[in-house]
Amino acid sequence: MTTRRAKKVSFNKSSKIVEIDQEEDLNNLDLEIENQNSSRFNNDKNNESNKFNNDDFDDDFDPDTMDIDLTTGKKRKGRAAARADAAAGTAETDDKAPVEALATSLGLIPYHLPLLLYSILSDGTIMNDTAKAIQKTFFNLIAIALIYSVLVGEMAKLQRNPNKKSSGPTGAEFLYTSISFPISVALSIPIYLTFLLFGAPAGPLNTLTFYLSAHVSLISFFPLLNVYKFTDKNAKQIWWKLLTFQVPNWKLNQIYCSSLGGLIGCWLGVIPIPLDWDRDWQDWPITLLIGSYAGAFVGSVASYLYGLYVLSKFKKNT
């Protein structure tokens, strides 16, 4: 295991504070350092396929070798050594299964989510008959999520082969969608179990929790499944990385951010439940549903804006 020297503060016996050097696991380094070691391929693709004018990008630009902070565009100090150490250890394994990101784009934003959310809330039945309303919305979500997934798939295809004109999804791709859809519906079972482990109520509210997990599965995992196809080479490693949050440059990975946003929103959705406002919408799982819809949309938009920000910084610097 590679190590680096890190400074750690400790008291010595005479109660003065001294600094001692201590070995620290490489694994504790923050995310960005690791990201940089592994995202070479990814960024190349990014550059090639970016829908903004690629001429602006300097051929030299490669955050891995240049050691540039993506947000500030400034050169980083003192990390080169650590990076070089780390590269020897991890680069090899990472290169085998790079997690490609689609370039951020307005087209990837899930516009349907806020619309669906609006339709749920304006309807009002969710307060009275939660199970019925959540079921109805689920069917609406299926229809729109299928269309969205095809769009995302097309976008992925276009970005991977920018020179080839696509004439719409092929039969094989439709077949893929028709298989991936039931898979992501089936994914709601492990999601449901995870919810249960993380404290979802068991008992009469089971059905509602299950519907919630089905929603979350369609919002967070279905689009992801259409970008990172299970038919791809290395699909297992890629999905492992996605699930364990080891994705380089995840802030620029719009689909991934949307998924994360959906999950985090769902998680934060529990906060209003214990408050004593005694409103109808504080019932399980309404706030979680709202949280995951809103979170997925916000995550996607935030990632898109971050992409714009990085681009503008980059333009300014070159």
Binding site: E19, N27, N28, P274
Partner: protein
């Protein structure tokens, strides 16, 4: 040196907190006879003592009888409705001042004073000397002084309050909480004699206190299937008393009241409308033609506000009763005479005199609080009623006073300690800015929640939320480090989830819909339940027994431990099994089918101890257990020293700490409520899961501190505790004690309620010491403790400061006595836990490992 600084700061922190409590909870100053003379106003010249209306009183207290149980169309008390409709009965919805617990309520009903917060605490402390009213004036004392003969049957709280006043009495302890019938039959069986002509000549006041309805509420809530039957039973008793007393004697008064209400889950103690709306009904022949109910037909349609008939304060009963029976009003009474009953007096002069008596009694208190004697003019009836009401209002609002100089000083010291803690923390974590930053952010996010009263009530949600985030972080960290053990991760998460499912906590979402494993366990039928429970007991002892056998080297010491541990297991196991059998089922009920071994087990215990009462058998088991336990822990603690200096051998570190943890767990299990015992294997599951999943100690000490803090709090709440005083568990407070000892029973109560946190503070030692290599222990051991101590110190400083600040800021808030004050006391107990277990006991355990 740095230890001294830290321990000194811990003590200063505790002292500041205690000072705040002193200023915040002033003890109530009662009126003394001297002051009575000093401030009393003479009666006007034309005052004549009003004639007594009644000479015989029956008071029937039905514990937790909410107004709607008696008056609404959901009530099954048909006879009571008939009484109301016929005009014999007068109904009220009586507001019972929170805390809505029996002891403070009985004080209120008898003395007419509002309870102060300390009463609620004393309800728990249950000490005869402190909770007794002593010489305090009450209508019972007035009756006693005027040679009334009082007979009392029912809840023995009355005995504690009035040990001397009763002529004939039998108390029923509420030992079998799950028993709905025996407690009440023990009261009703006296009625045959007491209501006979001979019996009636031997009492002037008869008090009956029925507990069954409250037990049903605690067990199954207000809509429990047992409720209709119990209400009908109470109704029949009313009918009996009415026919045999009220109809026989025109000068008899029959009072039916609930001491408090209950909420939708069946609990009480708080201040919700459902808990404070108790029923009150006065029945007499004399009311028949006065139309005191204003032609309202009973039963009344159920309403959400519990608004039935007139709303009065429960303490109004005190002046009303004493005036109606012609006695002096208790001197500390704050209630007002219910004006409706003026109709009983024909003469307007007499009506005026009744009110003057009440007004002058209140005026003494008013003058005393103002420090000067005001004048009392001749007034008309309406003016008198107004005077009484305004006096009452003023006295109620001024009944609590804060000692501001204490509060300010305490806040200043606490603030200073917090700043100090931040400075030390900052210096200690100088190189790891983000670690310290996240810790502080976590502390602050937690503490900010004290502003919201609902977040104080629902604090367990916060800890669950933080814990899941933390565990998700740990698991993701493990994913990146590699070498994932799925068994460890899943056992940790499943253990955590089962812990969460074991009990519900909090007030609002204490839903029946949420499956509670402990209720499920307690509701098993008698032929299956004991088998299941025995299985769970075996599981509970498994980790300790395995641990001790696996980690100890073979040899003499191992044999000694095996014997001792076997003894402990037998003793704790049989006492918990007996508690389960005797408290969950009525063993003497022949209609219940038990597994054969249960009956053998019980008869074996009875034969060996030569005792019949299960409570006493358990006590014998406990006193034996405590001796064996003390012996075992002493042997274990001194083992390293002995083997080093005598046998020149080094004790293995995992052996030492795992054994200490195991032995301490035995005493914790013995002090835990029998339904919570199976939580301990879950805690072990989480501990082992975390030990395998957590990263290396030397670089991540902070993670271990966070883990222990989170689990301490989460476990505390998942034992069923809340931040409300009503959830303090007293079932194990007197284990093994033969006579009352405030220190020992306090210690036992504390261990009983803080069993989870104590387990984790000892587990911290095992967890960290098993994570560092043997050769670095001597150099690291004090650092480990210091690290934890500092972390906790900063946590308790930050959260304590914000809590005190909130309480100071919200001191006039509606919920200050029901939500925030109990939280202050709970926080004080946490400080004690930090000082005693996380600091002193941990220090001793580590110091003895040489």
């Amino acid at each position: 040196m740095r230890y001294l600084v830290l321990i000194f700061s811990l003590l200063a922190q505790l002292a500041a907190f205690l000072l705040f409590c002193k200023g915040f909870f002033p003890t109530k100053v009662l009126l003394t006879p001297d002051e009575l003379d000093q401030y009393s106003t003479p009666f006007p010249d034309d005052y004549i003592e009003p004639k007594p209306q009644f000479d015989q009183v029956v008071l029937m207290v039905v514990d937790a009888m909410r107004a709607d149980f008696l008056f609404s169309n959901n009530s099954y008390m048909d006879f009571a409705h008939k009484l109301l409709n016929d005009g014999y009965g007068v109904g009220f919805t009586a507001f019972s001042n929170p805390p809505t617990v029996t002891l403070p309520r009985l004080k209120g009903i008898t003395t007419g004073s509002t309870p102060n917060f300390i009463d609620a605490v004393l309800n728990i402390a249950d000490d005869e000397n402190t909770s007794g009213l002593g010489d305090q004036d009450s209508w019972l004392k007035q009756m006693f002084l005027n040679d009334w003969k009082i007979n009392m049957f029912g809840d023995d709280t009355w005995h504690k309050l009035f040990p001397d006043y009763f002529t004939k009495t039998e108390g029923t302890a509420s030992f079998y909480v799950s028993d709905f019938t025996i407690v009440d039959n023990n009261v009703t069986r006296h009625l045959d004699y007491e209501l006979s002509n001979e019996g009636k000549s031997n009492w002037d006041c008869l008090i009956l206190h029925y507990l069954g309805l409250d037990h049903i509420g605690h067990k199954g809530g207000p809509n429990s299937p047992n409720m209709p039957l119990k209400q009908k039973e109470m109704d029949q008793i009313m009918e009996r008393v009415f026919n045999e007393v009220v109809l026989q004697n025109p000068n008899s008064l029959f009072i039916i009241l609930g001491d408090h209400g209950m909420n939708d889950v069946g609990n009480h103690g708080g201040s919700s409308t459902a808990e404070t709306s108790a029923a009150l009904m006065l029945v007499s022949q004399k009311f028949k033609n006065l139309n005191l109910n204003n032609n309202i037909e009973s039963p009344i349609t159920w309403n959400h506000d519990y608004n039935y008939f007139d709303k009065i304060d429960q303490i109004d009963l005190v002046p009303t009763l004493t005036e109606l029976i012609g006695l002096n009003i208790p001197i500390n009474n704050l209630g007002s005479f219910v004006p409706k009953f003026l109709n009983l007096y024909n003469d307007e002069e007499e009506q005026k005199n009744v009110l003057i008596k009440n007004a002058l009694q209140l005026k003494v208190l008013l003058d005393k609080s103002n420090g000067k004697i005001s004048t009392f003019e001749n007034m008309e009836i309406d003016q008198l009623i107004e005077y009484i009401n305004s006096a009452k209002e003023e006295l109620l609002s001024s009944s609590s006073d804060y000692n501001y100089s204490d509060l300010h000083l305490a806040l200043a010291v606490y603030l200073l300690m917090t700043i100090l803690s931040f400075i030390i923390f900052g210096l200690y974590f100088k190189g790891q800015f983000f670690t310290a930053f996240f810790d502080v952010v976590f502390f602050v996010i937690y503490s900010v929640n004290f502003i919201a009263s609902s977040m104080v009530e629902e604090e367990h949600h916060l800890w669950w939320f933080f814990t899941t985030i933390f565990f998700a972080y740990i698991i993701f960290k493990r994913f990146r480090i590699g070498s994932i053990s799925w068994i460890a991760i899943s056992s940790m998460m499943i253990g955590l989830r089962l812990l969460k499912a074991w009990n519900n906590s909090g007030q609002k979402h204490n839903l029946k819909a949420n499956m509670k494993l402990s209720t499920y366990l307690s509701q098993l039928p008698s032929d299956i339940g004991p088998n299941v429970y025995a299985g769970l007991l075996v599981l509970s002892f498994l980790p300790m027994v395995l641990h001790i056998n696996v980690k100890t080297e073979a040899g003499l010491s191992m044999n000694i431990y095996q014997v001792l541990i076997a003894m402990l297991t037998c003793l704790v196991g049989s006492s918990k099994m007996l508690a389960y059998l005797s408290e969950n089922y009525n063993i003497n009920d022949v209609s219940l089918v038990f597994p054969k071994w249960c009956l053998k087990f019980i008869s074996f215990l009875k034969e060996t101890t030569q005792l019949e009462d299960y409570n006493k058998i358990n006590n014998v088991l406990f006193s034996l257990l405590q001796r064996v336990w003390l012996f075992t822990i002493i042997i274990q603690l001194f083992e390293p020293m002995v083997s080093k200096f005598i046998f020149k051998k080094k004790t293995s570190i995992t052996h030492y700490f795992s054994n200490v943890l195991g032995i301490i767990t035995f005493v914790l299990i013995s002090q835990t409520n029998y339904l919570n015992v199976p939580i301990f294997p879950l805690l072990y599951l989480i501990l082992f899961g975390f030990a395998y999943t957590s990263p290396n100690y030397s670089t991540n000490s902070n993670i271990f501190n966070v883990f222990i803090l989170l689990l301490q709090n989460l476990t505390f709440f998942q034992f069923g505790s809340t931040n409300s005083l009503s959830s303090v568990d007293l079932t194990n407070s007197f284990n093994g004690l033969t006579n009352y000892n405030i220190f020992l029973s306090g210690l036992l109560t504390y261990t009983c309620n803080w069993a989870g946190p104590i387990f984790w503070s000892i587990a911290h030692l095992y967890l960290t010491f098993s994570k560092i290599p043997q050769d670095r222990i001597q150099s690291m051991k004090w650092k480990i403790l210091f690290d934890k101590l500092l972390f906790n110190f900063v946590f308790y400083c930050t959260s304590g400061l914000l809590l005190l600040g909130c309480c100071y800021h919200l001191r006039f808030h509606l919920f200050i006595w029901t939500v925030f004050s109990p939280k202050i006391l709970y926080f004080l107990s946490w400080l004690v836990c930090n000082l005693v277990f996380d600091t002193i006991i941990s220090y001793i355990i580590v110091a003895l490992y040489v």
